[in-house]
């Protein structure tokens, strides 16, 4: 019992310290009384370093002509930027939880988990001068806020697209059927994203083809719907699918002709378009709709360099940085000013990406985390969890 007493004493002490900390009231935190972990009241001196988890293509420093928004940031703030690219959202969550990063750009299937776990901190947007100009459709959404508090700032959004090699696939496809049903010309050369989140793409196909399953949200699937999606994925695998884990894998495959059709981000089409020796590719947003992402720069609760992270978040909402970054990746810019800047690099970009067309974004299912409670008010139904998705993906890929 003696040890327990010690522990209790420590706990009481910790409570006292916490209470004292809360009652000093030196700050006007959003809820009024208590500062949330990682809350920044005022900007301090830049730490000189910033460690980020990014999607590939989200922090360019001039490797591609005309795209450089990291060097100007470093020159202006003195924060040296180090980046680690994630392969998928699950990987991003794991990287952030390792505790070695100040923050990163997370899609909805990662951001909600990170907010729930307390791994990322709410953001004091009053300190970010560029936040006011951001499209209101990107503020205080389920994927970037909790309890009415913003937990990050938007980077850009876009759909997952269908890409094909125009030499091999001569009639432009308009539907995802091309990757689910296959043809003699493409079997064995179909390129599919190697992540459990791709199960949602199967669910979207089922929403169009088998409405009797009653899928309402491709990320929240019950037993029967999930089984149908996995069944579809197994059939697809047997067509001879090659799964891509990193974008470079897919680019290399399309360039060599080992891949001719598949799911992609506009980014890879842009890279292939810039390679004169690669076969010509085109992309389309298929008529069934698609999965997509809306990415958020978030700060780790335990960030070692919070000031640099705030400076970075503000920088990534600036017209120049956001304009360049969203053109580079082929996604929609986050403000009118960024859109205007993007038009100067790539005329027609804003309309092409539907930057301010909120009706368009309603047709896109942003990546979200599968939850046991189906993420709805109905407590009677249960859905497959994130772990079920990962395990099903291992089973699909391992056999």
């Amino acid at each position: 019992m003696k040890r327990f007493k010690g522990v209790t004493l420590l706990a009481v002490l910790a409570l006292l310290v916490a209470a004292c900390g809360g009652s000093t009231g030196e700050s006007a935190a959003p809820s009024g009384d208590e500062k949330p972990a990682g809350w920044l009241e005022a900007l301090g001196e830049a730490e000189g370093e910033l460690n980020l988890i990014i999607w590939p293509g989200y922090a360019e420093r001039g490797e591609y002509e005309g795209f450089n928004w990291v060097d100007p940031f470093e020159a202006e703030t003195g924060c040296k930027v180090n980046v680690t690219a994630m392969t998928d959202s699950n990987n991003g969550v794991q990287l952030l939880q390792s505790g070695q990063y100040d923050g990163g750009s997370f899609s909805g299937d990662a951001s909600v988990r990170l907010m729930t776990a307390g791994d990322v901190a709410p953001v004091n947007v009053d300190l970010l001068s560029n936040y006011a100009a951001v499209f209101s459709g990107l503020k205080n959404q389920a994927h970037n806020s909790k309890d009415g508090m913003p937990y990050g700032v938007p980077h850009g959004r876009g759909p997952n697209l269908l890409m094909w090699n125009t030499d091999v696939v001569t009639t432009a496809p308009t539907s995802w059927d091309a990757v689910w049903d296959g043809t003699a010309a493409v079997n064995g050369k179909i390129s599919i994203y190697d992540s459990s989140i791709y199960i949602a793409d199967a669910a979207i196909h089922l929403m169009a083809k088998q409405p009797e399953l009653g899928i309402k949200n491709p990320y929240q699937l019950n037993e029967e719907q999930f089984a149908a999606a996995i069944d579809l994925l197994e059939k697809q695998r047997d067509l001879g699918v090659i799964y891509w884990g990193s974008y470079a894998d897919q680019v290399a495959g399309f360039a060599s002709g080992d891949l001719v059709i598949g799911t992609t981000w506009q980014f890879m089409a842009n890279v292939l378009g810039g390679d004169t020796t690669a076969p010509k590719v085109e992309t389309v947003m298929p008529e069934e709709g698609s999965t997509g992402w809306s990415d958020t720069w978030m700060m780790a609760t335990k960030a070692a360099n919070p000031n640099c992270m705030y400076l970075w978040m503000n920088h990534m909402m600036s017209a120049e940085a956001n304009g360049q970054a969203t053109v580079f990746f082929g996604e929609a810019a986050t403000s009118v000013a960024a859109c205007d800047y993007a038009e100067t690099i790539a005329p027609g970009h804003c309309e092409l990406t539907h930057a301010s067309d909120e009706a368009y974004w309603e047709t896109i299912w942003y990546w979200a985390t599968p939850r046991e409670d189906c993420d709805d008010a109905d407590s009677a139904t249960t859905c497959k969890t994130q772990d079920d998705w990962v395990e099903a993906w291992t089973t699909l890929r391992g056999n």
Binding site: Q94, G188, G253, S256, T394, G398
Partner: protein, 287 residues
Amino acid sequence: MIRRITGWFNRHPRATLGALLAGPLGWISVVYLGSLLILLMHAFWSKDSFTGKVEPFNWTLDAFVQILSNPVYFTIAARTIGIALLVTISAAAIALPVAYYMARIASPRKRALLLVAVTMPLWASYLVKIYAWRTILQTNGLLGWAISPFGLEGPGLTEIANSWLVLTYLWLPYMILPVYAGLERIPNSLLEASADLGGRGWITFRRVIFPQLIPALAAGSIFTFSLSIGDYIVPDLVSDAKFIGNVIYDNSALGSFPVAAAFSFVPIVVMIGYLLFARRLGAFESL
């Protein structure tokens, strides 16, 4: 004072040895075994299925239940062990004649050249070699170009046999060198005695040379087998196949540490079994 201490150590040789070894042994046990222990303990910890956070000291066997209840993990383990065995057998089959030529037939100059040739690939980066094989094996690659006149196509980058081929290539030197050393150790007089007793080439090899080479082959096989069973880059890059290492990597990268840790028991147990088997064949005397 110092004299008294040294005097004491002088009278207690075991204590001297203990003091000397305390540093390195402490390092091994704390840093190496300690981190291994923490890794393996993860297998018995639970995890929040939504946020992906491991809950330390919250004991459960869920990870093992998951692995045992889903046959895919058995398939993956069997595939990995099967390929590792194939790699070991094919490496031995190539190593025997090469090492025999080097040790018994080649002139000293040729032998030196061959030794350099065998070890040369070890100087190149492992990844560079794998990417070189990718350019050979991809559909429009070097191999596809070479066999296209016969109406054949390159194998592409999804065949499981690619992994067998590339792993055999990568680990071959580790088999040739011990076998070569083992052949050099066989005294000429034994072969002469065999010939005197009427033993022709094949009989001499089968009944005189091969039995004495078993420890060397077992030593080489430890390398080829253990390196193959742990590899996860080759199967991913040339085969698009999942090995044990891929599942461990995927699960740790996806934030499912308990499953990754539980599955890592498989190669550990297999390797312990293999090492015990190799020890019975005398592998450790010929390393």
